[in-house]
């Protein structure tokens, strides 16, 4: 569902003419499964329907305290992500996600490995040594994506005029929030979104096996 949403957006997308962009603003309400509020700072909001070239930016996901920090990032198709190990022991980074399968091997403190992501989609990355480590990379067709503020407010600048689709995505969301938006040059388009946080799905190690503790669900 997640990957399909982005893949479909890329398939339908095309480059846009250089016109003054508009702004998409709004609020995303992020709820726990029991209906309680969750911090919307764990939510990424993005617009799809058009393509933009990647930047030279390298997004960083650190391995620190047996966690990936941050555990959710958005990049543009063709950009790189760096994985520095800041822990005093070995970590591994791997993905079995269809858009980008890789295995960076095991590396020690102070070492950094990079990976480029040439195809759009959702890539879940894990550590083969520490099953509690999980992160997600959204590889998007353009640069119009932001992390929402803790109160849920967001603003995406430079969106080309047109009819686009807006998504709100969180790592443990049961499903992404989706809305349509019409953007006009120099104008603001308002939109509100709501998503619900679910449990962290269990995952397997890089060999497709349960981790040694029997496949515990990690949060």
């Amino acid at each position: 569902m997640r990957a399909l949403a982005i893949a479909a957006a890329v398939a339908l997308a095309g480059p846009v003419a250089a016109q003054p962009g508009g702004r998409v603003v709004g609020t995303v309400k992020f709820l726990e499964a029991d209906g309680g509020p969750a911090s919307a700072a764990d939510v990424i909001v993005y617009v799809t329907g058009f393509n933009e070239p990647p930047t030279d930016n390298v997004t960083v996901i650190a391995q620190k305290g047996r966690r990936f920090v941050p555990d959710l990032v958005a990049i543009t198709v063709g950009e790189k992500v760096a994985f520095p190990n800041l822990d005093p022991f070995l970590h591994n980074v791997f993905s079995q996600s269809v858009p980008r399968k890789f295995d960076l091997g095991s590396f020690k403190r102070g070492e950094t490995k990079e990976k480029q992501f040439p195809e759009a989609g959702v890539v879940d990355v894990y550590c083969n040594i520490h099953p509690e480590m999980a992160a997600t990379i959204l590889i998007l067709p353009n640069r119009r994506h932001v992390v929402a503020a803790a109160d849920g407010k967001f603003a995406i600048d430079g969106v080309p005029p047109g009819d686009w689709t807006v998504y709100a995505y969180a790592r443990r969301a049961t499903k992404p929030a989706i809305a349509s938006v019409t953007v006009k040059s120099g104008a603001e388009a308002m939109i509100d979104l709501e998503i619900v946080r679910g449990p962290e799905p269990a995952h397997l190690n890089k060999y497709g096996e349960k981790y040694k503790d029997g496949g515990q669900v990690y949060h």
Binding site: L90, R100, K101, F102, D103, L104, G105, S106, F107, K115, Q116, P118, Y207, G208, E209
Partner: protein, 247 residues
């Protein structure tokens, strides 16, 4: 008598080289290497039956521990055992089973380890040095220049190998050119065909060649590849099976 003696020497002193690294083929090296600090245990078993037009038979086993030194360089520590049955001039058969050789080998993939980042054409160089357990003054040197070309589900590989056995007062050199094609049948299964040859550059042993279908299956941390070699020249059947398990 000279033929029997030559076969005995061939069986006891020049068993096949150990192959390291995951391969889709039976007799050919692949170009895959393990990621950094990856560890794998591998086993190779091969038969060469009725070589040189005689009833000489040989089964060769090698175990090796492999470690990924970097994402492009892996080291293997092979240990080789060899069983041979050599026909004698009087019609009897002499058998032997020996710890033949141990050593170290390096495989360097001249492209990124990640297939998504590597070009379709991937070269790999392999160098090995091995000590002979029986002929204590003998050293074996092995080299392979391997190139794989991936086009979608199909992969073609050419492996230009060479082996030299150097001892005090003697020297033997042979070339081992081989080629194969493998096609992805399912996400875990590949099928293909290959041809393998050993071309002796001296009179110590004779040349031979084989060809046949191969199959390779990978599942999680385990993989296995095998080839049923049908004799083309100076051998009747030469099957080979390899498997590995990663940790």
């Amino acid at each position: 008598m000279r033929i029997a003696l030559a076969l005995l020497i061939a069986a006891c002193v020049f068993p096949r080289a150990a192959h390291a690294g995951r391969t889709y083929y039976g007799w050919l090296f692949g170009t895959e290497v393990m990621p950094e600090r990856g560890v794998e245990l591998q086993t190779w078993i091969q038969e060469e039956n009725d070589k040189y037009g005689t009833r000489t038979k040989e089964t060769w086993v090698s175990w090796a521990a492999l470690v990924g030194v970097t994402d492009q360089l892996e080291l293997a520590l092979p240990v080789e055992l060899d069983w041979a049955a050599v026909e004698q001039m009087d019609g009897t058969t002499r058998t032997s089973f020996t710890f033949k050789r141990f050593g170290i080998e390096a495989r360097y993939r001249m492209a990124p380890q990640d297939p998504a980042e590597a070009p379709p054409l991937v070269p790999l160089l392999r160098l090995a040095v091995k000590r002979d357990v029986i002929s204590r003054d003998s050293v074996r040197l092995e080299a392979d220049a391997v190139a794989s070309y991936d086009a979608g589900a199909v992969q073609a590989v050419v492996d230009l190998g060479a082996v030299g056995d150097i001892a005090s007062g003697s020297r033997h050199v042979e070339l081992r050119p081989s080629a194969g094609v493998s096609m992805l049948a399912t996400s875990e299964l590949r099928v293909g065909a290959e041809v393998y040859s050993e071309i002796s550059l001296d009179s110590v042993v004779e040349s031979w060649a084989t060809a046949g279908p191969d199959v390779s299956w990978s599942h999680g941390r385990f993989w296995i590849s095998g080839m049923f070699g049908i004799g083309l020249y100076h051998v009747r059947i030469a099957p080979r099976v390899l498997w590995g398990i990663a940790f």
